[in-house]
């Protein structure tokens, strides 16, 4: 065997090993986090941890319910804002706007996606927090004194603020994927509908959206997953202080990722603390992986069909 | 007329997935002649051509059965070094595919791979093969400019020079003139005629006149089957198979993209 062939063979084997490495990372993360969180699982059992909202590390109580609830709250709010905004923007870009507008807006979306999460948090702290504190909350509490607007947290660091910041963060993901899916709908389908005398909006509603529906669903799922796992921005604006289940838009929330980030300093000092926190990380990992599997499977299937 | 055989195909069957593309082809390709593979589009011409240097195996979902012997050696034998096999065969595509480097580097690419390091020897090889491909005069002042800036016709001649520079024994052409303007096409044709004393040349073409002008030997494929083959005069003057007769007289509708 000559050296050229040998080089080729070695390169091939090494590259293959790296591919296997990539494949194994997912399992390594799962196993690594599982092993580290095993002590708490052995002692308390998953049900006790998930359904108890009692978080007193010094007493050995590690109920995660309040954090799970916080995550669900802020993710829901962010999705309520981001889904319509994202889909309508994507529709506008792919169906309605001028080509030049699209070429101007697309880099904006890229930049929005590239901005550091901490910058989002910073922006939320100096603009959205005062906005919610001084305007939105007084207005809502004054006019709608009922659920979900009642709260005695007047700081502005709350579920709603975190939801707004998160919504802007996941917008670029939803827009980019939805826009790509929409552009993938064959032009001939639109033509067929327009030829039957449908208006543009009827075509979009009846043909384009119908065809693109699974892909848009995937875009939403992937955006949701990003919102679910986002840490720093939420940590900075959600008012992560109290370990209670939020009952209002204006209550502070303490989502899971923020819990993980916030306890890094102290978690080795109290027994089982690190296990509980890494269990939270494992849960986060499993949920986001699940969301991503669903989202990318859908997109993959659409690509295969095209 | 007696031909010495260079490439010998025995019971070649090729399919993509469930679709059969070549059906039990057995044919001998004569040495130092121009052989033209003709037939209506989709009949497996390119597939047959690419089976000679094992480029076929890069295709998606392909399965190859049967033998291809080059100089009496089965090219699908696991002991055959595929790079050596491919070195023996220069390949021209429909559209010239230059490599992302300078004109000089494009021609020197092959010799470098096959062990020539000496600068002087490389310079000589580059100028020799560029002259051989009748491109030298047009590019000698800009050898280190990107090859992508050449015209399509020049690029195809560069590809010819590049192919010749690895010192092949066989030149395979997959409709090498179909993307060119008439003048460039004619230059390539003339060059091929010029080269056939030294190389075995196999061309895929859908232009009957071209096959007639250039070829010594004709292979006619129809729907993956070998229908007729023979020396060019016999084939065109006196085709035996009715399908071949119909094809020659233009009764098949050719799609223009073939």
């Amino acid at each position: 065997m000559d050296t050229r062939r040998l080089k080729d063979l070695i390169a091939r084997k090494l590259m293959f090993m790296l591919c296997i490495g990539i494949l194994s990372i997912v399992f390594l993360i799962a196993v690594g986090l599982y092993i580290r969180s095993l002590p708490i699982l052995v002692r308390s059992g998953i049900r006790d941890i998930l359904f108890s909202s009692l978080w007193r590390p010094t007493e050995g109580r590690f109920g995660l319910a309040a954090f799970v609830a916080g995550t669900v709250w802020v993710t829901t709010i962010s999705m309520v804002i981001a889904i319509p905004l994202g889909i309508f923007t994507a529709l506008y870009l792919s169906e309605y706007c001028h080509k030049r507008t699209r070429e101007l807006v697309k880099p904006v979306i890229d930049v929005l996606a590239g901005i550091s999460p901490v910058i989002y948090g910073f922006w939320g702290m100096v603009t959205i927090v005062p906005l919610v504190r001084d305007h939105i909350m007084p207005f809502c509490v004054g006019h709608f004194p009922f659920f979900p607007f009642l709260s005695d947290n007047y700081t502005g660091f709350c579920v709603l603020t975190a939801g707004i910041v998160l919504a802007v963060m996941v917008l670029p993901i939803i827009i980019a994927i939805a826009e790509e899916v929409l552009s993938g709908v064959p032009f001939s389908m639109r033509e067929a509908s327009l030829a039957l005398g449908a208006t543009k909006w009827q075509t979009v509603k009846g043909v384009v959206l119908k065809k693109a529906r699974p892909g848009i669903f995937a875009a939403v799922i992937l955006g949701l997953s990003r919102a679910f796992g986002e840490t720093m921005a939420v940590l900075m604006v959600a008012g992560c202080a109290m370990h209670v289940i939020p009952r209002s838009l204006f209550d502070p929330a303490y989502p899971l990722p923020a819990l993980i980030a916030n306890t890094y300093g102290e978690m080795m000092s109290i027994p089982l603390y690190d296990a509980a926190v890494l269990l939270a990380a494992l849960m986060l990992f499993l949920v986001t992986v699940l969301f991503n599997i669903v989202g990318w499977k859908i997109l993959g299937r659409m690509e295969d069909e095209a | 007329m007696y031909y010495r055989t260079h490439i010998s195909v025995k019971n070649l069957n090729v399919s993509y997935g469930s679709q059969k593309v070549l059906n039990d082809i057995s044919i001998d390709i004569p040495d130092k002649k121009i052989t033209a593979i003709i037939g209506p589009s989709g009949c497996g011409k390119t597939t047959l051509l690419k089976s000679f240097n094992r480029l076929l195996e890069l295709q998606e979902g392909v399965s190859i059965k049967g033998q291809v012997l080059v100089d009496g050696e089965d090219i699908n034998d696991p002991n055959v070094e595929v790079t050596h096999l491919r070195k023996k065969m220069g390949l021209l595509f429909q559209r010239p595919q230059v490599l992302p480097m300078s004109i000089y580097e494009n021609v020197a690419y092959g010799p470098r791979l096959h062990g020539i390091k000496d600068r002087k020897a490389l310079d000589d090889a580059v100028s020799h093969y560029l002259k051989e491909a009748t491109l030298w005069d047009e590019v000698k002042d800009r050898l280190h400019k990107p090859a992508s800036r050449l015209s399509i016709g020049q690029q195809q001649r560069l590809c010819l020079a590049r192919g010749l520079a690895v010192e092949p024994e066989v030149i395979l052409g997959d409709e090498p003139t179909s993307a060119l303007d008439p003048i460039s096409a004619e230059r390539i044709e003339r060059k091929l005629l010029d080269l056939k004393n030294r190389y075995t040349i196999v061309l895929v073409t859908h232009i009957l006149r071209q096959a007639r002008r250039l070829a010594d030997y004709i292979i006619f494929l129809y729907m993956g089957n070998l229908v007729e083959h023979g020396p060019v005069e016999d084939f065109f003057e006196n085709p035996k198979d009715p399908k071949a007769r119909a094809y020659i007289s233009g009764q098949f509708i050719e799609s223009s993209d073939a």
């Binding site: 807006v105 550091s116 910073f122 840490t231 | 050596h84 491919r86």
Partner: protein, 283 residues
């Protein structure tokens, strides 16, 4: 005007409005960063490290975080390139387009793309404990590399998809081995794309905080050893915004501006690069 046109007009306004809100939010964010950051920025801010502790000391600048972020970003990008390039090249050169294996690797990369950075941070942390490492530059580099590998690999993958299959064929037809095809031809053809991918990943790497929180730590000093903690811009923002001292918060504002400028610069350069290095590229 009939109902159909009314509906059309209504949704058109909604759609255009959504697009405007999206664009405005970027402008809103950037202007906030500039309005707060510009007054805080000075020469001293950029060339000095914090004096008397980053959290309470009122003097000094953010040089520690700038250099730390650059060190982590560069190291992680280099490491991620060393993994992503071979992986993507393998898929394109040694595997057929529709091979199951390639599909699986791509799918796993997509899934890894969606894993939150805090999970990478937590995973990096468990690996550190396993090896008995402390928070350090090297741990930060490894964790951030893990975070950006999926971004980089998918981006390079897109570039390689653009390369015509005939280029592979014609190169192999000259008798190249596949490795030679990859190293001598594809690398050249894909060079601008690879550069863009590296820059985008670099931008993502220096912007992330959750992954370096556990793994790189924070310090007042400029990076001097692979095995010592380093400061990073995102964490400089996070920590220094949270203090009660206005002077310290200024450092946070300045860090926000510097980080945003860096990321913007990198993305602009990435765009320009992909246009500039096309000399030899076959279109």
């Amino acid at each position: 005007m009939d109902r159909r046109n009314l509906e059309e007009g209504f949704f058109k306004i909604i759609m255009a409005g959504s697009a405007i809100i999206t664009v405005m939010s970027l402008i809103f964010i950037l202007s906030t960063v500039f309005i707060k950051g510009l007054p805080a920025l000075s020469i001293d801010m950029i060339i000095k490290t914090p004096q008397g502790g980053y959290y309470i000391g009122r003097e000094g600048g953010i040089l520690n975080a700038i250099l730390g972020s650059l060190a982590i970003g560069t190291g992680a990008t280099a490491l991620a390139l060393a993994v992503s390039l071979p992986v993507v090249f393998y898929l394109h050169i040694y595997r057929r387009k529709k091979s199951k294996f390639s599909k699986m690797v791509r799918f796993f990369l997509d899934v890894l793309w969606g894993v939150p950075s805090i999970v990478y941070g937590a995973f990096g942390f468990t690996v550190m404990i396993f090896f008995g490492l402390k928070a350090s530059l090297i741990a930060g580099i490894f964790t951030v590399a893990l975070l950006i590998i999926p971004i980089m690999a998918r981006s390079i993958d897109e570039t390689l998809r653009m390369i015509p299959f005939e280029m592979n064929e014609s190169c192999l037809a000259l008798g190249s081995t596949r490795w030679e095809l990859a190293a001598k031809v594809i690398t050249r053809q894909a060079f601008p794309g690879i550069l863009t991918a590296a820059l985008i990943s670099f931008g993502r790497g220096i912007g992330d905080a959750a992954s370096v929180l556990f793994t790189a730590g924070f310090t007042d000093y400029i990076p001097y050893s692979l095995f010592k903690p380093v400061a990073t811009l995102p964490l400089a923002i996070f920590f220094q915004l949270g203090t009660p001292f206005p002077e310290v918060r200024q450092r946070g504002y300045a860090s926000a501006l510097v980080l945003t400028l860096l990321i913007l610069a990198v993305s602009v350069v990435a765009r320009l690069m992909s246009k500039k290095f096309v000399r030899n590229i076959i279109k």
